[in-house]
Subunit: 314 residues, 2 copies
DNA sequence: ACCATTCAGGCCACTTCCTGACCGCAATGC
DNA sequence: GCATTGCGGTCAGGAAGTGGCCTGAATGGT
């Protein structure tokens, strides 16, 4: 076996962790113990921290180092990672959407077809994990767009703008941005010869042509501001203020990051900003406590309506 | 630079995808174009599919191959992966919990401290992402246990069994199993000199001692059956059957994988199995449709109680 | 149709490095 | 103290890597 290949295998073995006795390693790699020691040295030279324990029952162990070593994954692990990233990309953790898509694109591009199939088998499960409303996001579309942006590949897709027919587009993708719960694609529309931002959930049948284009200069400071300038109808934001007759901690547990909970006498004051009132209703349903809605009135109405609906179930 | 190191860098460059012209690659790696071609060849020999496009504006591109190449990640990407896996491990996608923890353990073990800190900064956000009840799972504890299981390292931790004081345990961990929404650790208790299963959410301050032990034979077919045999009080499972005056698709969108929706005349029949009734209540709150609860009666009661609670908000 | 560009890969001489064998040494646990 | 295991120096032979040069072949633009 090649030296490079052997180093990779050694890294892979060390990543399954388990204290490896040097003898076993050298046997598996089919080299002499001396060469193994040299290989370990090489790894250390590359910046990886390899701990060694001497004496009887000694061995080697890879420790976290200064840089991230190449991840050598089993098939299942790769699938798990892809699925996990898909939920992150859908906005599970705010602030991580872009990076998640980036990582997801990388993983997917490297996955052999059989793994991609396995991942797709789990698709329906994870794509529905969009809490509190917002359009479901198609991870396939998202990664296709991300990849095209990264690689400067022209795209074609069908776009169904609000209240109009589907139109076919040929664009030069520039960047994906995530605002609130929505994804937007900033791209240069080749037919309209101008920059546009597209809502990703309205894009269908995205496909790259395999060509490449020379990136143009975006006539804006950055993609984010371009999108924000272009959004006419920002989704209605509601500032929710609710008082709950229960402990702060209990509320905190349920709302997690998506709201702020402060003590208010023997009650808890919950504040959150949402664009879909269904989400606070779900939170309130989870909490077994009396509710006093301070704002918005729409929430109070919805709550009462839901309450009556529930009461009728009896 | 070393050949092995160069190959790794080359792989890394190719993983950022973007059609790389051979010239640029050879320049970055500081080798002659001829050697670059040989490096590409080497990669292909290792099983990686490297596409090449000839002619003006040609270049190289890494394609998905038969096996998963080592993932070379940016810092941010690693953090995103770890965070995503944490939600998967918490049971976001059923059937993937074990693999997610396995992958998470691997990633965390390799992360340099600064990245781990960055990940922890996002902890409070993602750890609360436990939908529909069940105890919050501490990813740190989980990965510590997983790592100890994998590496045959003795563990110490504090265990607070239901209704009793906290006790200190010294165990030889065997395996983690996930049942429903709960995690269990199967381990040999050194003090009690017998096999036990521990609920992970009742474990605190888990730490490895750095030693190692020789694995014992588990006196059961496998860890899963051992845990199942030991669980006296399986969480009460409710078989939920609800009729909803709305379209099947609308219901399907909300419940996703966690329920089965079938048409029932002009209504929809929703069936799901849960161990916490708060979850179906949240689902029903999200759906703007009249509800008829067929079973269980506890759900009807809870629904009515919630309904009255909501109505009082008016 | 022609041509510049770019990847493919054979050949060759030269250099580097890798390897296994042998050695003495240091740490560890019994 | 003793066996075990990692550490690393040295050495000689061999394997592998390197750059330069070449011819071919595919590609896209003129």
């Amino acid at each position: 076996m090649n030296t490079s290949a052997r180093m990779l295998r050694l890294l892979s073995l060390l990543q399954t962790h388990r204290y490896w006795p040097g003898g076993e390693l050298s046997e598996r790699l089919e080299v002499s113990p001396r060469t193994l020691r040299r290989d370990i040295d090489r790894l250390r030279d590359l910046g990886y921290h390899v701990d060694a324990v001497r004496g009887v029952a000694g061995g080697y162990q890879l420790r976290a180092g200064g840089s991230l070593p190449p991840l050598l994954l089993e098939d299942d692990e790769a699938v798990a990672i892809a699925v996990g990233l898909r939920t992150s990309a859908a906005g599970a953790v705010s602030g991580l959407e872009e990076t998640s898509v980036q990582a997801l694109t990388k993983v997917i591009a490297l996955m052999p077809p059989r793994l991609r199939r396995r991942m797709d088998a789990l698709r329906s499960q994870s794509d529905n994990l969009v809490w509190g409303g917002g359009p479901a996001i198609d991870a396939d579309v998202l990664t296709t767009l991300a990849q095209a942006c990264r690689d400067d590949e022209p795209l074609t897709f069908g776009y169904t703008a609000r209240g109009s027919e589907r139109t076919e587009r040929r664009v030069e993708p520039h960047r994906l941005v995530s605002i609130g719960r929505r994804w937007y694609l900033v791209a240069y529309d080749r037919d309209r010869q101008d920059w546009r931002s597209f809502r990703v959930d309205r894009i269908a049948d995205a496909a790259t042509t395999g060509q490449r284009f020379r990136p143009r200069e975006l006539p804006a400071e950055d993609a984010l501001t371009f999108v924000q300038a272009g959004i006419r109808s920002m989704p209605q934001r509601y500032a929710v203020r609710v008082r709950l007759a229960t402990a702060v901690a209990a509320v905190q547990d349920v709302v997690g990051q998506w709201g702020e909970v402060t003590p208010d006498g023997d009650r808890a004051l919950l504040e959150m900003n949402v664009d879909d009132l269904a989400w606070p209703v779900m939170v309130l349903a989870r909490l077994d406590a009396d509710v006093e809605v301070e704002s918005p009135p729409e929430l109070r109405d919805l709550l009462v309506r839901t309450g009556e609906r529930f009461s009728r179930a009896g």
